[in-house]
């Protein structure tokens, strides 16, 4: 793979990651959002694959394949089961409307470019230049956790945060040591399982799926 193909493939995949983050804000239907998330997971895995092939790093290629399997297939399947319980399946009452939240996400992307300047300066490679996209994905994830009220939307926000961090980790350091990388990926999977169990219990026992209904505990 020559350098031009390498960097354009990398740009394409990283661009797809952030694009999917925007799509999750744009679409209201939770099943469309989960599809965007699956595409994002695959794009993230492709980033690792491209980096791995470029560096002739077998471990990184393996990690890329695992990421595609976990984030492109397993987690979306788990999420779909949560949605099957949800009769409405639409984010009806976000606190911020769609155009305004897209503008907000744009502003967060600028913020990400500003905040990562010292990091980009330290890694002046074609991969390093894309690091702000990872932080932007993380911030958009945060943002969507704050403005969305469905339990499932919060899981989506958490996954965006995690994908953003994974993107930064791949681009900046070509993956932290394997043990840690695997620990982190396994962890997301477990958190999603835990959240699914809780969502099912809340739904089946108390018919709660909107976070506004979680008002039992307050000061």
């Amino acid at each position: 793979m020559n350098h031009a193909t390498y960097s354009s493939l990398l740009e394409l995949a990283a661009g797809l990651v952030i694009l999917c983050a925007f799509v999750t804000l744009w679409r209201r239907s939770l099943s469309a959002i989960v599809r965007a998330l699956a595409v994002q997971g695959v794009a993230l895995g492709v980033v690792a694959l491209v980096l791995g092939v470029h560096r002739h790093d077998v471990v990184l290629i393996t990690v890329g394949a695992l990421v595609i399997a976990a984030k492109g297939a397993v987690i979306p399947t788990l999420l779909k089961r949560v949605l099957a319980n949800d009769s409405l399946n639409r984010e009806t009452s976000p606190l911020v409307n769609v155009p305004a939240s897209l503008v907000g996400a744009g502003a967060l992307t600028f913020l990400a470019y500003g905040a990562t300047r010292p990091v980009v300066a330290l890694v002046p490679t074609s991969a390093g230049r894309l690091i702000p996209l990872g932080l932007a994905t993380l911030l958009i994830g945060f943002f969507s956790m704050v403005i969305r009220r469905k339990a499932a939307s919060q899981i989506v926000g958490l996954l965006l945060v995690d994908n953003g961090i994974a993107l930064v980790a791949f681009l900046a350091t070509a993956g932290v040591p394997l043990l840690v990388e695997l620990g982190a990926s396994l962890d997301v999977l477990l958190v999603v399982v835990v959240l699914r169990v809780l969502a099912v219990q809340l739904w089946s026992k108390f018919a709660v799926l909107d976070l506004d209904q979680l008002q039992e505990l307050h000061d």
């Binding site: 990091v119 993380l138 809340l202 026992k205 979680l214 505990l217 000061d219």
Partner: protein, 486 residues
């Protein structure tokens, strides 16, 4: 070798509990396991206090004075909590709220929780430590939701969502530290070992380290319960079963703080003391202000105790900001003292909930007259927690304030004193309501079983003794402080 045995004890106990299912003796076995953890912790401490650190599994596990101290904290409070777990599960099973299967799950999860915390403080590698801290979140989620009430499930949901985001930020911070180490340019082989990061700390890129430390403080700070990411804490600590609250509030918060202490030492090397100090002072003061303002209006005694944890975490963040050997030794003593006092109070509050059936402050009256032993324990626990002599929290708070004044943080010390005074007033008025008053006519004086009184009084005596005698901990505290102070 001893470190491996230490980790194996709770893992094996959990395995036994899982295979033979819940019996009363399994409960006592779990208590014995924590007793073993505490004893091994003390042996390890005597070994490393004057000698270099012990490593096992080619550096994956590493015990220095600081780790050994944290093992003692985990062992001591864990011992108290597992002791009371037997009573909690007995009562739950008797009342039919909890099946044998559920009780088994509880026992296994508690042992898993202890193993994860031990791994976090023994890990020689920041990445492994991160995995262990995250594992505590996943395990404790089910413990928080153990009672399966709506409130408990709601608290678990908030807990796992907020802490997962927090811990994700800590992971990003760890990645950035690793990035800075990769580009440190001192030619050393780059690993995520504490030792290699510490020795490379002066060569780490300051711009990246600033961003990394901010993320780490925000991220691990979430698990510590530091503002502005504390909002899960009062819900989770008030909804969890009392022994779990005692473990979470008394130990888990400070295990996360242990991670911050280690990273602060690396950042001090890379950035100088000013930036880390500013960051710790900010989160510390913010936590104190929030705790002071929210404690005033509490009507639930378990939430009151939970906000009290936010206050104490703020205090140790301020102590860590000062960062002198005196300050860090005081922070560590405070970690142990707070753990014991808060453990006693949460366990006593579990007993109050069991016998009175409410967590409302208004509905609990005249405890001292009606239940002298339980009321007395609760009263002395509050006295300890509020930092009155002779308890060790008095000594540690005093030393932290002294250290803050010495390094020019007198203004922050003054603000923290004002917050402590407000909290003192608020807790005293809530406590007075619960404790004092006359026994209603015809109501007998209730006895509290010795399974409750003996361990809790023991812990209070220990907390008092630590405040009066510096021995046997002072050498260990000094050695542990030097691990994270240059």
């Amino acid at each position: 070798m001893l470190a491996i045995v230490l980790l194996a004890v709770p893992v094996v106990t959990g395995g036994v509990a899982a295979t033979v299912t819940w019996r009363r003796w399994v409960g006592w076995l779990c208590t014995a396991s924590l007793g073993a953890v505490l004893s091994i912790g003390i042996v390890l401490a005597t070994e490393v206090v004057h000698h270099p650190a012990i490593s096992a599994w080619s550096g994956a596990l590493r015990v220095d004075a600081l780790s050994a101290f944290m093992v003692i904290v985990i062992g001591a409070i864990g011992f108290l909590a597992t002791c009371q777990s037997v009573r909690y599960l007995d009562a739950e099973i008797k009342s039919g709220r909890c099946s044998i299967r559920h009780a088994t799950l509880y026992a296994v999860l508690v042992q898993g929780f202890i193993s994860a915390m031990l791994l976090a403080v023994l890990a020689g590698n920041v990445g492994v430590m991160w995995v262990a801290v995250e594992a505590t979140t996943i395990i404790t989620t089910f413990l928080v939701g153990h009672r399966k009430t709506r409130g408990a499930l709601e608290a678990s949901w908030k807990y796992v969502i907020i802490c997962s985001v927090g811990i994700a930020l800590a992971f990003l911070g760890t990645v950035l530290v690793y990035l800075a180490a990769l580009h440190a340019g001192n030619g050393a082989h780059v690993t995520l070992q504490w030792t290699s990061l510490m020795s490379a700390s002066h060569h780490l890129n300051p711009g990246v380290m600033r961003l990394a430390l901010a993320l780490l403080v925000l991220g691990y700070g979430t698990k510590v319960g530091l503002a502005p990411m504390h909002s899960w804490l009062p819900d989770a600590h008030s909804q969890a079963p009392a022994p779990v609250s005692a473990l979470m509030s008394g130990v888990l918060l400070t295990v996360a703080f242990y991670a911050l202490l280690r990273f602060k030492a690396i950042a001090d090397g890379a950035l100088g003391v000013n930036f880390p100090r500013a960051l710790f002072v900010t989160v510390g003061l913010l936590s104190l202000l929030i705790a002071a303002s929210l404690l005033l209006s509490q009507h639930d005694y378990k939430r009151m105790l939970a906000y009290h944890s936010v206050e104490h975490m703020g205090l140790i963040a301020l102590g860590a900001a000062a960062g002198t050997p005196l300050a860090i030794a005081a922070v560590l003593l405070h970690i142990l003292g707070h753990g014991l006092a808060k453990g006693v109070l949460f366990l006593a509050s579990g007993e109050i909930l069991l016998v009175e059936g409410t967590t409302e402050i208004d509905q609990v009256k005249a405890l001292l007259a009606r239940r002298p032993a339980l009321g007395g324990i609760f009263a002395f626990g509050l006295v300890a927690l509020l930092g009155l002599p002779p308890f060790s929290l008095f000594v540690s708070e005093l030393n932290m304030l002294r250290a803050e004044v010495q390094v020019g943080l007198g203004w922050a010390a003054a603000i923290s004193l004002v917050c402590m005074a407000i909290i003192f007033g608020a807790v005293m008025s809530h406590g007075r309501h619960m404790l004092f008053g006359a026994r209603p006519d015809g109501e007998p004086v209730h006895k509290t079983p010795s399974i409750v009184t003996v361990p809790l009084i023991g812990a209070l005596v220990g907390c008092g003794a630590l405040g009066v005698l510096a021995w046997p901990l002072d050498n260990l505290l000094r050695a542990a402080a030097m691990v994270v102070v240059k």
